[in-house]
Amino acid sequence: MNYVMSFLIGGTICLIGQIVIDTFKKNNAYLLVALVVTGVILGYLGIYDKIVEIGHSGATVPLLGFGNSLAKGAMEEASSKGFMGALSGGIIKTAPGVAAALVFGYLVAVIFNPKGDK
């Protein structure tokens, strides 16, 4: 059941993303920024956790989930450490994913060569 819900919720979020791409014809960076900020807002309002309960990975894997983690991290740390927690909480919570992207990105750049065919 979790797999079915992951597929449906994850697919739906991506479908909304596709509508945004085809309607506004903007650089994908705008979409990614919008998703993360929306995730933070939904996380702050406590709405996104409910979506995660239903959709599991379908909600955590899209970038909205990244935004949700940011918000939760910042809010958790803020409640225990105050201002410094608000500043660093989001970064601490999401550090593994970002660090992985950096490390793997560098490794890939060293090992592979860019390919032109598309």
Binding site: I21, K25, N28, K115, G116, D117
Partner: protein
């Protein structure tokens, strides 16, 4: 030489003696595959970057053009070239190894007719006997300069065009046999406010219409064929619409290099080909041979360019379009 309206009428002979074309693998699989002089097998061609591959395309096109005609470098008075990359490095770096006096120009995708037009005027003015005009573009080097990294996932919009990988070198001379450049019209910049860098055809079409119209009015010649550079499907439709609305339809004899070089459906190039190399290689392989075979007696050839930059686009500027026309007759 004299000037009629905004068009230069070439008084003496400016003969297109030969054209050498090289294209990339994708173009080599297109409808014109048998007509190119050389098709490279991969997009690096033994070089270690796409930019270096592009300058090799230019350099090889010129060298093979000279060799095929038993010319030596000293026979050539001037080389005029341009390309799409910042500071036109492909052209300058290719010329660095050719040791021929060099003028680099930037006309975006209009470069082919810009360089040929300039060459024709210089020859007709008696300042040179032999001029080589060159241009090139490379899908990968253009893509990374103007758009996104190539490994970035995502879809191209339906209006997007595919930059042609290829180069053509044209030998212009004041003597000999071959099709002659009779009229040159340098276009003015026309910008009707298109800002979508994924719809270059629409951005350039008004400039193409303006220059073609100017040339046809100035010369009054009824050309066998009219060909624009790289408007693609969308730009071509707009140019046709504009002429039709003037009750001066050119539809039956009008085509666009961007729609000739690729099989648009099969090769998945959306709105068609673009880039300096597009009009250059289609002219060198397809149109020039039609002129040589007497299949065409006269050709109005207009490369079209979008003179924008990524910086200007990000700053919200619209895209200035330009088109330069050559009236070629046999």
């Amino acid at each position: 030489m004299k000037k009629i309206g905004k068009t230069y009428k070439i008084g003496g002979d400016v003969v297109i003696r030969d054209v050498y074309t090289i294209v990339g693998p994708k173009e080599g699989e297109g409808p014109l595959k048998d007509k190119f002089d050389m098709v490279i097998t991969d997009d690096l061609w033994g070089e270690d970057s796409w930019e270096k591959c592009e300058l090799k395309l230019q350099k090889t096109a010129v060298e093979n053009l000279l060799n095929r005609n038993s010319l030596i470098r000293d026979n050539i008075d001037l080389i005029i070239s341009g390309d799409l990359l910042n500071q036109i490095t492909s052209s300058s770096f290719a010329a660095r190894e050719l040791e021929i006096p060099y003028i680099g120009v930037y006309g975006a995708c209009s470069t082919m007719t810009l360089t040929m037009g300039l060459g024709a005027l210089i020859i007709d003015g008696g300042f040179a006997e032999n001029v080589v005009c060159v241009t090139s573009s490379h899908f990968c080097s253009a893509e990374r300069q103007f758009r996104l990294p190539l490994e970035m996932g995502g879809q191209r919009h339906e209006s997007a065009q595919w930059t042609v990988t290829g180069s053509a070198a044209v030998w212009l001379s004041n003597s000999g046999k071959g099709p002659k450049i009779k009229h040159v019209t340098f276009g003015k910049i026309v910008d009707l406010g298109v800002k979508d860098a994924n719809n270059m055809g629409a951005a350039m079409a008004p400039a193409a219409y303006d220059s073609l119209n100017q040339h046809l009015q100035d010369t009054g010649i009824n050309y066998d064929m009219i060909v624009t550079g790289d408007l693609g499907v969308i730009g071509k439709a707009i140019v046709n619409k504009m002429f039709n609305e003037d009750n001066n339809s050119i539809e039956s004899k009008y085509d666009d290099c961007g729609t000739i070089i690729f099989d648009i459906e099969k090769q998945d190039v959306h709105a068609g080909g673009s880039g300096c190399g597009c009009s250059a290689t289609v002219f060198g392989s397809f149109l020039y041979k039609k002129l040589l075979n007497n299949e065409l007696k006269s050709l109005l050839f207009a490369s079209t360019g979008a003179l924008h930059s990524t910086t200007a686009t990000l700053q919200g500027e619209s895209i200035p379009g330009i088109a330069h026309c050559l009236g070629i007759e046999i």
